[in-house]
Point group: D3
Chain length 248, copies 6
Amino acid sequence: MRISVINPNTTVSMTEQIAAAARSVAAPGTEIVGVTSSMGPASIESHYDEALSVPGVVEAIVRGERSDHPADAYVLACFGDPGLDAAREVASVPVVGIAEAAMHAASLLGRTFSVVTTLGRTIGRAEELAERYGLAGRCRGIHACEIPVLELETNPDTAGVLVDACRSAAEADGSDAIVLGCAGMADLAQVISAKIGVPVVDGVAAGTLLVQSLVTMGLRPRNTGELAPPIPKVYHGLLEPFGRGAIS
Amino acid sequence: MRISVINPNTTVSMTEQIAAAARSVAAPGTEIVGVTSSMGPASIESHYDEALSVPGVVEAIVRGERSDHPADAYVLACFGDPGLDAAREVASVPVVGIAEAAMHAASLLGRTFSVVTTLGRTIGRAEELAERYGLAGRCRGIHACEIPVLELETNPDTAGVLVDACRSAAEADGSDAIVLGCAGMADLAQVISAKIGVPVVDGVAAGTLLVQSLVTMGLRPRNTGELAPPIPKVYHGLLEPFGRGAIS
Amino acid sequence: MRISVINPNTTVSMTEQIAAAARSVAAPGTEIVGVTSSMGPASIESHYDEALSVPGVVEAIVRGERSDHPADAYVLACFGDPGLDAAREVASVPVVGIAEAAMHAASLLGRTFSVVTTLGRTIGRAEELAERYGLAGRCRGIHACEIPVLELETNPDTAGVLVDACRSAAEADGSDAIVLGCAGMADLAQVISAKIGVPVVDGVAAGTLLVQSLVTMGLRPRNTGELAPPIPKVYHGLLEPFGRGAIS
Amino acid sequence: MRISVINPNTTVSMTEQIAAAARSVAAPGTEIVGVTSSMGPASIESHYDEALSVPGVVEAIVRGERSDHPADAYVLACFGDPGLDAAREVASVPVVGIAEAAMHAASLLGRTFSVVTTLGRTIGRAEELAERYGLAGRCRGIHACEIPVLELETNPDTAGVLVDACRSAAEADGSDAIVLGCAGMADLAQVISAKIGVPVVDGVAAGTLLVQSLVTMGLRPRNTGELAPPIPKVYHGLLEPFGRGAIS
Amino acid sequence: MRISVINPNTTVSMTEQIAAAARSVAAPGTEIVGVTSSMGPASIESHYDEALSVPGVVEAIVRGERSDHPADAYVLACFGDPGLDAAREVASVPVVGIAEAAMHAASLLGRTFSVVTTLGRTIGRAEELAERYGLAGRCRGIHACEIPVLELETNPDTAGVLVDACRSAAEADGSDAIVLGCAGMADLAQVISAKIGVPVVDGVAAGTLLVQSLVTMGLRPRNTGELAPPIPKVYHGLLEPFGRGAIS
Amino acid sequence: MRISVINPNTTVSMTEQIAAAARSVAAPGTEIVGVTSSMGPASIESHYDEALSVPGVVEAIVRGERSDHPADAYVLACFGDPGLDAAREVASVPVVGIAEAAMHAASLLGRTFSVVTTLGRTIGRAEELAERYGLAGRCRGIHACEIPVLELETNPDTAGVLVDACRSAAEADGSDAIVLGCAGMADLAQVISAKIGVPVVDGVAAGTLLVQSLVTMGLRPRNTGELAPPIPKVYHGLLEPFGRGAIS
């Protein structure tokens, strides 16, 4: 089985970190292919960033679908789940976003969860996703550590700040689990959990395992109705693979 | 007052039709500027199309904000309200989507409304928007006429098919108003309403008038928190105006 | 176009203030007619007051509909939207309440709003209306300044108290807009907004502009089903125009 | 114990029928006093009728509260629960509406109920009340028999039509109980239930018994905050008891 | 009329207290039969306890249904309403849980209520029940006094602690009523209410009176569909009355 | 890794079938241990059956926790998820119900799913679970094939009936996936999916893979607050392991 883990931002070092997180949980027979988006923002911390990241996400999936060795599933490794619906139209195999995966997985650990994310300005998007996935009633709080995405890797205080933020969130909300709100936090989930004694869910691991589960069950999307392949048409100003005929 | 009415697809004839619909309701002192997206799909009929239309929408607003005569408000003239959140981050003036505008306006005409849209595959997006805007409880049905967006203009049966679809929807759902689910239907709202005796809301007119109302009241967005201007950063593979410093 | 702005309480000076607020935003060709309810409470600060204000509201509309120069639309200028459903049955043209208008308009400015109202005892009604209009999820808080309605005009501290209350609400709730919860605050919206740097929506202006927008679009209510004209019948103990035949 | 059962319309024969229904279920020591509203519509079949019925309802309670032998509780015997919030402000004892009572009682009989009401135009109000009381999720359908309120008593087909309507509703919705949507149907609940083998809840009986239960438990309203007694003020054009000082 | 009040735990002294509370409000002609569960936990303070209490509850009802003098109704006197759905399948007469009864009764006293329960760990179940009954929107808070169920009777501070907890809850939440979250608090409702000036609803009294009301109205469950009598089958390891043929 | 898959009914042949379904998807290093409940109904087709199955489920987990080789996770293999909350209190490792697992997994395949279950009388429970898990908005229909649980294995028409029922459900609801509503259908998921071209989710496979995913991520429940281990106490009439000290 091959799972393509797409980093919707263009920062290659982050792709590597994400792919490593995916590999660390994937089954022995599962190959993880990390893909860096070819265009868009270096990190995603606003609706604007997310909007500009979507074509790169979609392109990665179109290229993947056309390749000689297409993936058996895709993970979108940004907590805003950018382009998830569009991705589901163009992919003939399961696609899972990491916010989606983390929130669903956390829901299996008890009655409630809290989210700890990067910048406070992304809280609105996380609320919107929890609402969309039906899990807003289980989400007791969304908290920001105010470390920008690309500093997570470089800031020596990241682990400490996150441990504190997760502990505070768990105490304040009384939640049964913590969800990490950024793919860049993937490597810290187990460390934080060990420190605070609360299960901490990383979306990259959750997304990898959930999509691997779907493939193991032989589940492929229906690709009809709302999620049928897009009708071929002209896409002005966008290079291949978005041009006419791209999707057929 | 100048209102920029952005057509999120790249079909110029549709922009003209949209701008005409906006002009037909705007106040005497309001200038309507029709803007065609510079890149993306020729029409928007899927999540994929919508995803690829967003950069063009955002670019139009960034260029508008930087121009010598910036607009006092923007209307996003596609019923999927593509890029609305991103647009609100980069605009210092009100931005309204036509689905949003039409649904809010229809809510003022009674207790319920129904939507008549183009292709059935877009119903999911319309449901999602009604939910997001809080108006799903008022939306008693979403119906498709199965005429693609670009055929609305050219198909000689468009008016007849839409009259029938709107009448059926009003009868089946018992709704107090019909909302037209595509900017390309803007010129037909009054004709249909006259035929079926039910108020028919066109989002282009509604969007223009609602955003004109906001400007008249002197309301400008707060642009803080979630909707603060995006943090300047590198956008790979995207030409200006998306490059570093684009948003400052 | 003529818009009848009905003050549901019997305080004439407040009608004048309301009509002035409406005129300050109406289009050049729009005539604003302020109407003071002929019976009921001097101000509306309880369910009891609201209940007793409704016959006056309905009477004003019945008289309006029968007049030689009927209005093209009505605004109900009290934040409880008293008698809105009844008004919609008897009016053949659009009727909009100012709570409804303000909450819908505020929803176009971002993701969330807060309400600042007069007495704390009216908060329940505002919550109920937000729920009814589908906008409770966007309403992050309802706050009272504890100045009674009729003191808003006479209390020299009104502006200062409201500026403080609106600033606190915006900070505590992190909302994208403030909605003023009383028609008697109409003249202060722009002053407050300028002081606190947050858009402040006055319902009288919003109601006037939204209903003017509906008329500009040629939208008239369907007046069938639930909102059909009432069946003529005997109304004991109520003078004309409520007697038999009033509604035909 | 004395329970005042207020008929919000002005039709005395209906008051007698309602009082008889209340008496048929009240405990031996409970006195039922039927009160006919002194002003307003002869029957309530629209928002307009309901709006004009409210002052009479409120007056009946104000007079009751001031009487030498005030009631221990009030029942508002119209399925629109007109003036319920206002009544709760002016009454120092429990007030229950019959829609409220019937829906709550029906909820104790299983998972779901359906409503059978008079005219189709009242369905919207019933939906709104189910929503308000939190019971919309249990209400699987609201059906109209299209017999006007005052014909229920005189139309020889009433019983037959209602039996058919209730049976159809129970079958179509698969509900665990039927709620009768008009006080004028009170005497038929047991007959219908016997014919169709489904529990049929009459709101007059339910309201009487539920409010009797509250009194038996010694529960009196808190009358603070939103439901505190109204602030005394001038009520123009309304005779006593609504004048200044009425509520003190 | 005979009402069987089932204590789902096995503590006989608590059954006596519960039956006394029921008797204190029942009508003169209503016989209250207290039934102690024959198996399960001595008190119910967790999902585990509740799960293990359910067979005893169901057994009590099966035995009751088969007895020579079956009850006309059942009350389940534990605030978790254990086994309510199962009980409704096997009983041919109304069954009401005390959480259900208390929350519905409290809803008739105003717009909101708060719950004061025993241990904090039971709050989740109370939330779940409020949600299930449609009353979560009215429930403004659930508070724990942290006195275990069986200590309520023996702890000399119980009354004082509960008075304080109920007063705090009423003040913090601004609720119109307090609901006591344990059958073991039944005897204290009136005392607390007198001290704090807020109506305090005890579920045992509420359940007794509501179910007595249903019986007085002649309402018997439909017992079809989801709530039809269970299909006879083998129940391994469970003695009579659960064996094959138990339910026929 | 060892996963204990508990069959909440007492039919051993069904346990074998369930364990086989779990084994067919589990990772190579995962041992599946099928456990048949030691007491309770032979099949679960009512609230009554479910209530009586819960002690057996809980006992299986208590025994498991005390064993020398405790499992790393538990799956509750009945679509009513019987005893899930109680199980989570007594287990120190993840517990997942198959309804929960199947609905969450189906949610990752698109926007909507439909359920096909055994008897129509179980639809209410499935609705309740969808609501509880937050996924009711995604569940577009619940359909019964009216084959009892124990006949699924023996009825030669089972496969054909289920194929028809799933196809009809997918067509009528336009759903993106089908969820099978009984553990006894586990072996048919792939066959049905192949016939109808729609992904069909079996809860046993989904539960096994999701809980395996949680273990792979190192996630263990917090076991505090609502889900802390139960307080040791006396359980009358229940043999070990439920007696005092069982949970310590």
